[in-house]
């Protein structure tokens, strides 16, 4: 399991899909593959105003990764240090086993290279001390990269602050 989580504060998300384009341009991808995707649930009519929920779907970098288990060539790999699951393109033969296996639809087909591609948490940027492309350039700043272990405490603190400010509940 990756030690990182990409946190998406849906409340602040505007569904602008900029993150998708940031991810794609950073990876040099053309039309088609989207390593992360914003899925809108709604809008649904409600009083006093309609509501929509945006769900941000990158890769979850599962501990028991179906894509990794399915890959016949060992192209899908996991980094020991932080558990990031990524595809080593030079080893990918384009068999699509990972795309079929992933229950979340995270692995994508790239018609240009005829190989699979997926979110690698922008590991090259992380290694250079930078934040992922989607996090860096999200329009409203509703994406962040966190440590899975730290997240519950962050959430508790925020919830407590909101309660104290009288706007939570």
């Amino acid at each position: 399991m990756s030690t990182f989580v990409l946190v998406h504060e849906s409340e602040d998300c505007i569904g602008c899909q900029a993150c998708e384009v940031h991810c794609k341009t950073n990876k040099g991808l053309g039309a088609g593959p989207a390593p992360c995707k914003i899925v809108a649930v709604g809008p649904v009519a409600a009083a006093p105003a309609p509501r929509v929920r945006f769900v941000f779907l990158p890769c979850f970098h599962c501990a028991d990764a179906a894509c990794l288990n399915a890959c016949p060539t060992g192209a899908v790999r996991r980094r020991d240090a932080d558990g990031i699951v990524f595809i080593e393109a030079s080893v990918c033969i384009g068999c699509k086993s990972c795309i079929v296996a992933c229950p979340w639809g995270a692995a994508q087909w790239d018609p240009e290279t005829r190989k699979a591609v997926k979110c690698d948490l922008c590991k090259d940027r992380l290694d250079a001390g930078l934040q992922p492309a989607c996090v860096t350039k999200c329009v409203t700043g509703c994406l962040s990269l966190s440590k899975a272990a730290a997240l519950p405490d962050d959430r508790r603190r925020r919830h407590a602050a909101a309660l104290a400010a009288g706007i939570g509940g």
Binding site: G15, E20, A49, L130, K137, V139
Partner: protein, 729 residues
């Protein structure tokens, strides 16, 4: 090495965004460099940073030297990289060889293209005088350049595209405050309640504005959103009113009625600055909440509750005056009453309200030297009459549809040459066939554009402009509570045989023997001229991209420090300028035409992944939203036997288009809705051509229907019929 503890998010709710990593930190070692510039994917011109490696742009992000911007960038801004790589744009000058619009071109060199344009201009000017040349662009930060070009030519006929955009809001602000729309800014970040009349902050997206909006909501601000369509902004609002189309003026008259009746207005501010309160009281007489309910469908009780709430939140409230207000023939009055409500709430020059935009002069600083400075003014009357025959219309903007009227009928004088610069009236104006009838009268139609716009494809000559990443542009002043200078710097060498606009204008003038009126050697020469004496150096500006002229937002003293350049110097509920034009300052509400069973009002709007028709062929953006099904309410669909996903024909008069239908309660039953910009017809744009349908094509006969007081086109008065059709497999 991996990151141990990633920094906090850049959420507006946790304003600890200082950690934002810029490419500058990571780049450098591998020979990359960072260029500070301005985005060109929409007219907002957000500050950006471009990371360039081996002559290629490898990374675009917001320029964090602008704190609100941070490193954020929208989808279109990010797709600037794919615009750069796209070959489906004009790559060298082209002269038309077939009929207009037939798409037969002869690629030529710049000398030949410019000789041709200058030759035709000289001929036209020789025959009809300089005033026969007109130019339009999209206004905004860089219009000083096009104005200089026209002034050098000696023509008064500069037009921005506002008659199909913000004209009504602009003139409403002028009639009330003496200041144009850009003379007012909204402090969204600090507001307690923002009221939006279809101003779709989330999808007609400007990065800094939407960040402020989401930030304000996070701090508990309220938002009332009024629109016949549920946009994504409606989904962020705390109150949504699905108003009946074209009745928003009735709503505002009733709100004002309640505010006056209950004495909820800021008496001190009104006594100090406002004239014509009796006129206002008279204008809203009888406009009760019950009266408006019959027109708008908004329950009277809800309106009353809203008025109580907004009075509680005053003065830190905003009634947004609107932007795209070319909607119906009373849209001017909708904007005007929205601005009036700000005044009544005392929401002028307060945090979280409407703040007068400050220029350098307001801070005791010297502004940019204008390019038009020193150039003799053109005394000739404008062909649209703006400023004289139409005293209430701003001659600095003009009315584009009146230009087309003059083109077509040759009165009050002939317009025979027209330059469309970065502007596509065949997409933006209603009824492209009517626009073409006007264009057909021209002896010369030139398009200067980065893209194959619909207008470029119809022109005689295409002069391809370099992309925004490949050109330097004139320095812009960004007015606001905290004005700034901003620069578009050249990041890349042009991929194709294209040129920046300033060069094109200079070369045309030189060929006309007017080179002395634009004697700049290069863009750096222009920059130095602009900056001289301002105290800001070119090095500063290039190092930061944006240089603010004040430390923090400036608020004038509300007792003595405000200036309203109306004839009376007050905020005029009854406008002396409108009186002079013979127009009411507040007309009685005119109810929209009744529809018969098969009829709908055609509404249009924006998505956050496209800029008008400009980005439809961008490889990535096209892929995200390739077409535009028409939205229809379930009740109406059922009555017409239409099911979700059916193919339908939308028609008006002899014009019909075919698309699929999305049946959804998110649209008012009286209307159908289309996203704008689709239905491109240029075959050279292989991705976008023929995908989706163009709302403007259905606006037949609407080119000359406009709000007389504000000049804006009445596009949403377009009534269409919809029927299900069988599409052969």
């Amino acid at each position: 090495m991996t990151v141990d503890s990633p920094g906090p998010g850049t959420s507006p709710r946790s304003p600890t965004g200082a950690h934002m990593s810029s490419a500058r930190e990571g780049g450098g070692a591998d020979g990359s460099r960072i260029v500070n510039s301005l985005c060109g994917m929409c007219a907002t011109h957000c500050p950006i940073q471009v990371e360039v490696r081996e002559g290629r742009a490898v990374w675009l992000q917001g320029n964090p030297n602008d704190r609100t911007m941070g490193t954020s960038l929208c989808a279109r801004g990010a797709a600037g990289l794919t615009l750069e790589d796209d070959d489906e744009r004009p790559r060298q000058p082209m002269i038309r060889v077939g009929a207009r619009g037939a798409g037969q071109w002869r690629p030529v060199g710049w000398d030949e293209a410019l000789d041709y344009v200058a030759g035709k201009l000289a001929e036209a000017i020789g025959r009809h005088g300089s005033r026969t040349v007109a130019l339009s662009d999209r206004g905004g930060h860089f219009a000083d350049l096009t104005r200089r070009f026209l002034r050098a030519l000696g023509s008064p006929n500069y037009f921005d595209h506002d008659s199909s955009c913000a004209s009504n809001a602009h003139h409403a602000a002028r009639s009330l405050f003496g200041l144009g729309r850009a003379g007012l800014s909204y402090d969204i970040k600090e507001t307690r309640h923002i009221v939006l009349y279809g101003r779709n902050l989330v999808e007609s997206l400007m990065v800094k504005e939407v960040k402020d909006f989401i930030g304000a909501l996070g701090k508990g601000a309220r938002c009332t959103y009024i629109d016949p369509r549920v946009s994504l902004t409606a989904c962020k609002a705390t109150r949504y009113w699905q108003i009946r189309p074209a009745t928003d003026y009735a709503l505002n008259l009733a709100i004002i009625h309640e505010v006056l009746a209950d004495g909820l207005y800021d008496r001190k501010f009104v006594a100090r600055w406002v004239s014509g309160m009796d006129y206002l009281a008279e204008a809203v007489r009888g406009c009760t909440p019950e009266w408006q309910e019959a027109h708008t469908g908004i329950p009277a009780a809800e309106l009353r509750a809203f008025v109580r709430e907004i009075a509680e939140d005053a003065p830190n409230v905003i009634f947004h005056g609107g932007w795209m207000t070319a909607r119906h023939r009373q849209s001017f009055y909708v904007s005007r009453t929205a601005y009036i409500l700000n005044v009544l709430m005392g929401a002028i020059e307060v945090p979280g309200g409407v703040v007068l935009a400050k220029g350098p002069a307001d801070l005791g600083r010297k502004g940019l030297n204008r390019l038009t400075a020193g150039m003799p003014e053109v005394r000739e009357e404008r062909v649209d009459g703006a400023g004289r025959r139409l005293p209430h219309i701003d001659p600095a903007a003009g009315l584009l549809h009146r230009l087309f009227a003059a083109m077509e009928c040759g009165a009050p004088y002939p317009i025979t040459a027209y330059v469309a610069y970065r502007h596509d009236p065949l997409t933006g104006a209603p009824d492209p066939e009517a626009v073409k009838r006007a264009l057909d009268r021209l002896d010369l139609l030139v398009a200067i554009d980065v893209n194959y716009s619909e207008t470029a494809w119809y022109s005689d000559v295409i002069l391809p402009e370099t992309t925004y990443l490949e050109r330097g542009g004139i320095i812009a002043t960004l007015p606001g509570p905290k004005p700034a200078f901003a620069i578009r710097d050249q990041a890349l060498a042009p991929r194709f045989d294209t040129r920046p606009a300033w060069w094109i204008f200079r070369e045309v003038l030189r060929r006309l023997g007017l080179g002395g009126r634009f004697d700049f050697d290069g863009i750096e020469d222009i920059w130095r001229h602009q900056l001289e004496g301002t105290g800001v150096t070119l090095d500063d500006l290039r190092a930061k991209g944006v240089v603010p002229l004040a430390e923090r937002p400036v608020l004038f003293d509300r007792e003595d420090g405000l200036r309203f350049p109306t004839p009376s110097g007050t905020i005029e509920m009854r406008s002396a300028v409108l009186d002079k034009a013979g127009l009411p300052s507040l007309a009685p509400f005119a109810a929209p035409a009744e529809l018969d069973e098969g009829e709908f009002r055609l509404l249009f709007g924006r998505t956050a992944v496209h800029t008008h028709g400009q980005t439809m062929n961008n490889p990535l953006l096209h892929d995200m939203r390739p077409d535009n099904p028409v939205w229809m309410h379930p009740d109406r669909a059922a009555a017409l036997g239409i099911a979700d996903g059916d193919a339908v024909e939308i028609s008006r008069g002899g014009t019909a288009v075919v698309t699929t239908v999305e049946v959804t309660p998110l649209i008012h039953p009286e209307a159908v809705f289309l996203f704008h910009g689709y239905g491109r017809t240029v075959p050279a744009q292989t991705r976008a051509c023929g995908r989706g349908v163009a709302d403007q094509r259905l606006q037949t006969g609407m080119l000359h229907t406009f709000d007389p007081a504000g000049g804006g086109s009445a596009m949403t008065e377009t009534i269409v019929r919809v029927r299900r059709i069988e599409v052969p497999e």
